[in-house]
């Protein structure tokens, strides 16, 4: 029979799963393992960190819907210690999926992390709670670069406060590039059909995958023009036989060496590059995406007080600085940046050169909700 493992070790293993490999939409979001593990943790009180201050009145838990590899577990533990509220984490792979869950109703979430271009849709659909800033003393609007905080404000009402920002580029294992560096989305798709054949991954996410194919043709990342989308689809269908996988969970295959090239977000690029220096993070010179994630509270959140407590806790500059060190995504908060070491602030992955950054576009609300783009990616996947 099985060897016993300690409860603590068991929880650590589960958390490793949550943070690392078992992440994106295919498993956690769809199967609810993330929720299942967290529920299991919650259902076994012995596994929970007990708190000296458990008498706080925010309740015993807070449910966070977030992206993979996007938090420092130590911060979560500290929050539980301080407030007595256990963090139940649901991990998602795409904004579409988050929107789908909220549209279906009864998500049970208290806090979620929508990306800039989704917030107006959430407001229109009545799925997001206006924030009571008096409950968020750690939020100082003046400290944030408005470029990365303005999307949280719709018609003068603050619905969301900035979490992190970043870029969407590509991660390349340079060991196999034969001395020819990747610099563009043209390289990305052309070489997928040549020397990187069978080694490339694209996201299971219409926004970034179609966006990259549009950039290849020199079109806008946000295009919804029919003829431009048709060109993008043609390219994606042609590339598909050469792909290693269509997944937003690309770190494991990059780490194992099965895949050499992938569409990639800043923090994943930073994490891969830190552990495996030959994996470079590159922004396509044609352009690409610049994005900003926010903390927000869905309408009718079951643990509203705990939700405010969690957001306020995460906006504490010291907590936020630990987050950055753990996940490698930059923040727009000058108070937090003041606490970060020089080498992080000068890191070209986190803070790309101005000319590369200027070529990038923020995703648009219409890009996310466009039915033609949604159907295009589904056709591409089932082709």
């Amino acid at each position: 029979m099985e060897d016993h493992i300690s409860k603590k070790k068991f929880m650590e293993e589960l958390r490793r799963y949550q943070k690392g490999s078992v992440t994106r939409r295919h498993f956690l979001g769809v199967t609810g393992l993330g929720a299942a593990t967290a529920v299991m943790g919650a259902a076994m009180p012995g596994l929970r960190a007990t708190s000296a201050l458990a008498a706080s009145d925010i309740g015993d838990r807070v449910v966070l819907a977030t992206w993979p590899n996007y938090h420092d577990q130590a911060n979560f533990d500290m929050f539980t210690d301080q407030t007595g509220a256990f963090l139940q984490v649901n991990v998602f792979g795409s904004n579409e999926e988050m929107l789908a869950k909220l549209q279906a109703g009864g998500s049970g979430w208290d806090v979620y992390v929508p990306t800039n271009y989704t917030i107006t849709t959430y407001v229109e659909e009545g799925l997001i709670e206006p924030l009571d800033l008096s409950k968020l003393p750690n939020y100082d609007p003046a400290a944030f670069d408005p470029r990365f905080s303005e999307a949280g404000i719709v018609d003068g009402v603050v619905y969301a406060v900035p979490k992190n920002w970043g870029t969407t580029g590509m991660a390349v294992n340079t060991k196999h590039d034969g001395g020819k560096a990747f610099t563009s989305w043209k390289d990305f798709f052309d070489r997928t059909m040549e020397d990187y054949s069978g080694r490339t991954m694209v996201h299971d996410y219409q926004l970034t995958t179609i966006g990259a194919a549009l950039n290849y043709h020199g079109y806008s990342f946000n295009s919804v023009a029919e003829n431009e989308l048709a060109d993008a689809e043609k390219l994606l269908i042609a590339v598909k036989p050469h792909l290693f996988a269509i997944t937003s969970d690309y770190q494991p295959a990059m780490r194992s060496g099965d895949a050499w090239l992938t569409i990639c977000w800043t923090g994943d690029g930073k994490q891969l590059n830190t552990d495996i220096p030959e994996i470079a993070y590159v922004l396509g010179k044609e352009g690409g995406e610049l994005w900003s994630d926010y903390y927000a509270i869905p309408k009718g959140a079951p643990h509203m007080e705990a939700a405010y407590a969690l957001i306020n806790f995460m906006l504490d500059p010291e907590v936020n600085a630990r987050e950055v060190l753990a996940h490698g995504y930059p923040v727009a908060d000058s108070r937090t940046n003041a606490l970060l070491p020089e080498e992080i602030l000068n890191d070209p992955i986190l803070y790309p050169a101005a000319e590369l950054l200027n070529a990038l576009e923020f995703g648009a609300a219409a890009t996310l909700t466009d039915p033609n783009r949604a159907e295009l990616i589904a056709r591409f996947k089932s082709a």
Partner: protein
């Protein structure tokens, strides 16, 4: 209480359950399938056949499912039968229980985690790395239909083993002795006695595995890397990514129709086989 009232009372829990959990949701799916996608996703009422006319756009998903589900069922049968035979006919009572438990042990862990293990076994550092040692280079296993097939057979094997085991276990061993005493070759005995007597177990096992495989989405998603696409994956996409509930409902209805047709044909075939063998029990 009259007999009639008692009968109704006895059926009530199952009936209520079926009504709430099956009939009502299916009706919703049926109604939705004639609707349209709301502008930012979801469903708006309408009466259109547009969703059904658009079904060819998921042809590849139906094709993949209709090839890999029967293939997976057949492969599971080929592997499960000898195992069940060994357990039921050849194993002493002392070992039987323990070996049967071993067949179920994998079910104690989530299929998700077990599939994840297969990602590493079939990935570049797993079997392909071993093959390289013996000189077979660049073997790609993960994210191929083969990987999905391996995952399917692995995941569903116990569901195939048990019904076959039960049918073989009930087999009167004296029949085998009689056949052999009358001079039949062991192979003849197997094909004339053992196999026909276990047909009901085979039928049940195949049906269980096939029906579940038709709706499978996890194994293709994990071991197919998003490139081996089942109808189940198309449904997950339509409901959770592109939020086209109307079209998703039409795809779901189509899947249900295909299942009904194939399962009906299959039941007919099996009952005909059983009548020929003069054995009335199907399951």
């Amino acid at each position: 209480m009259s007999q009639r009232a008692r009968n109704w009372l006895l059926v009530a829990p199952a009936g209520a359950w079926l009504l709430v959990m099956l009939v009502l949701p299916l009706s919703v799916v049926f109604v939705f399938s004639f609707g349209e996608r709301a502008p930012s996703g979801g469903y708006v009422p309408a009466f259109t056949f547009e969703q059904y006319l658009n079904l060819p756009a998921r042809f590849a998903a139906f094709k993949n499912t209709l090839i890999l589900a029967p293939l997976g069922t057949f492969a599971a049968l080929l592997i499960a039968y000898p195992l069940a035979y060994q357990l039921a006919v050849r194993t002493s009572e002392k070992w039987k229980t323990m070996l049967l438990v071993l067949v179920i042990v994998p079910f104690w862990t989530s299929i998700l985690i077990r599939s994840y293990a297969w990602i590493f076994i079939l990935g570049g550092r797993g079997i392909p790395a071993l093959l390289e040692i013996v000189g077979i280079e660049d073997m790609r296993l993960i994210n191929t239909p083969f990987a999905v097939l391996v995952g399917i057979v692995y995941g569903y094997l116990p569901l195939m083993v048990f019904p076959i085991y039960v049918s073989l276990d009930r087999l009167d061993k004296r029949l085998l002795e009689a056949s052999s005493d009358l001079g039949a070759h062991p192979l003849t005995t197997f094909f004339k006695v053992t196999l026909p007597m276990s047909i009901s177990g085979i039928a049940t096992g195949c049906m269980l595995v096939f029906i579940l495989l038709m709706g499978e989405f996890l194994i293709p998603a994990l071991l197919g890397g998003g490139k081996v696409f089942f109808v189940g994956n198309a449904l997950v996409d339509l409901f959770l990514q592109s939020r086209n509930w109307a079209y998703g409902s039409a795809v779901a209805m189509m899947l249900i129709i295909i299942m009904l047709v194939t399962v009906t044909l299959y039941m007919r075939l099996i009952s005909r086989l059983n009548i020929q063998r003069d054995d009335a029990s199907i399951m």
